[in-house]
């Protein structure tokens, strides 16, 4: 069945998480200032490291409240301790600086979420009635960047109807709100979500409506997998591309330098 097919990802010599990491890494640019950290650090941190090592050495990587350009050490299960015991970084990046960029912005931020809706809004707080929720999320991560970052990328680690919903129960990080011009009308000047990269595919947002649209599907995934596991009807382009799989170099760096502990092989998520 569907689930069976989708589980085949590891036959390709890489995992769904590694596919997500490389898609995000390829998005980053030399003049980007990117911050990673918090409870769900692994995929963004891996992507930023891969980008910096392979494509954009000039990109600035910040870790929340810690460092500017930390050393490229292997990822650990804790995003919090990875770089703490190295004496090597360009500078410290403290609490005041976090406040400053929360308000004034940076280039890129990555959001996961308990729920993500068709306009790219992300819910990290409550499922059900916020006053009496059935599920309480991990709490707050920095929601400011959904307003002030130049671009945001969504990276839900689950792709199913519970995660991909028509409308989020609670807007934590603002996406394109109710679509169309609603984000602009709310007084938010930045572009918002550019891509949503999931275990099954890569999605962008229609220019006018801001509705989520399939951009490419990962090579082991079918159109039906997407339809069956998405809680709304995503828009489809005329021709559906296949996501470019990880290259030999990308995989090599991931396996030997960035993730020798195999975090991306054992990550829970997907369906």
């Amino acid at each position: 069945m569907t689930t069976q097919q989708v589980r085949k990802d590891s036959d390709k010599g890489y995992t769904w998480a590694e596919q997500m990491v490389v898609v995000l890494a390829r998005e980053l640019r030399s003049d980007d200032v990117v911050i990673v950290g918090g409870a769900r650090h692994d995929i963004p941190f891996g992507a930023a490291m891969l980008a910096k090592m392979l494509y954009v050495p000039d990109m600035t990587l910040l870790t929340t409240g810690q460092f500017v350009n930390p050393p490229m050490l292997p990822l650990e299960y804790s995003g919090h301790t990875t770089v703490l015991f190295s004496k090597e970084a360009d500078a410290l990046f403290g609490g005041y600086e976090v406040f400053e960029i929360s308000e004034t912005g940076l280039s890129v931020f990555f959001y996961g979420g308990l729920q993500i809706d068709k306009y790219g809004n992300s819910n990290m707080h409550f499922i059900g009635d916020p006053k009496n929720p059935t599920v309480r999320g991990p709490g707050l991560v920095n929601i400011s960047f959904s307003v002030t970052a130049g671009r945001t990328y969504l990276f839900p680690v689950w792709h199913n109807k519970r995660t991909f919903v028509d409308k989020v129960d609670f807007v934590s990080a603002v996406g394109h709100l109710q679509g169309g011009d609603s984000r602009k009308n709310a007084g938010i000047e930045t572009g918002g979500p550019v891509l949503c990269v999931s275990p099954l595919g890569v999605f962008d947002f229609e220019e006018k409506t801001k509705h989520m649209r399939v951009k490419s599907i990962h090579e082991w995934v079918t159109r039906e997998d997407i339809i069956e596991n998405t809680g709304f009807e995503p828009r489809w382009p005329k021709k559906v591309a296949v996501t470019k799989p990880p290259t030999k170099d990308e995989l090599e760096l991931l396996h030997t330098r960035i993730d020798p502990h195999g975090i991306f092989k054992g990550l829970s998520g997907r369906l």
Binding site: G79, K87, G94, G95, I143, S144, V147
Partner: protein, 306 residues
Amino acid sequence: MPTEIAQPTRRSKLVSVEEAVKVIHDDMYIAIAGHLFSNKPSHLVRQIAKKRVKNLTVSTSPYASYDIDLLIGAGCIKKTICGNVGFEYMGLAPNYRNVCQKGLIEAALGDEATIIGAYMASVEGIPYHPITSIRGSDVLKMTTLAKEYIGPYGDKLIAVKALSPEICIIHAQESDEYGNIRFKGPIYFDIIMAKASKKIIVSVDELVSNQKVRSEPWRTSIPGFKVDMVVHLPYGAHPCLSTGLYDHDEEHIKDYINRGRQSLSGGNTSPYQEYLRKYVDEPVDIYDYIERAGGFKHMQTLRRLP
């Protein structure tokens, strides 16, 4: 020939842990510095828990862990002000989760901009700090920390109300006896939180001489005149980490989480009560605590130097 003039010496701010927590009493509002499980003044927190102080309001950086969860477990907290309490990849904070779900404490939510902005207001001596970056989010409808307003120039702004803790407790790596505080890694939100608070108590892993401090003043992050008391507590952050010195104790924290979980789900509260007895109530000092938590030999294994 000039005569010798007797000059008074500076007053040491070194105190015992008992003396330090004497100033913390029921109904107080305190701040606990550090971030997630970095640089948490864990032993000071355990002393507060040991006293079973009641009805505390506690604020932290946007991410807290052992500090908040332990104080809830010991029944000390009435209200929390933070973003997220948890142990990252190791699991959720059992007591915090429990009291939030049952509505047993008031848990005010904020994120980086709201919480830091609120401390900044106190640092700058103003009743609230304007922020702009959480507009559009439903958090604004939920949080008790922020309100929308129109500024005098017609701007749509969000006011976060000043947080002014009566006492801030901090863990740092080094200090001299006069409370000149030095870190060996990221400082997180400690300086802002310290400046926002009326009194500052710091635990440090190591004491250094004032001469050493004065020979490299650029290494001092919080000058002694701001600091009220210093407590020398080697491994005072354990089971949390102390930046540049020792890592968090994963086994200890996992055991802590499990005990909390078992106690809350099974109705048998003994595993967690046992934790409080063994690590909070019975230890006579930090050395006794270290012995119970695996001894210096075990602590050495947590030191990961590059």
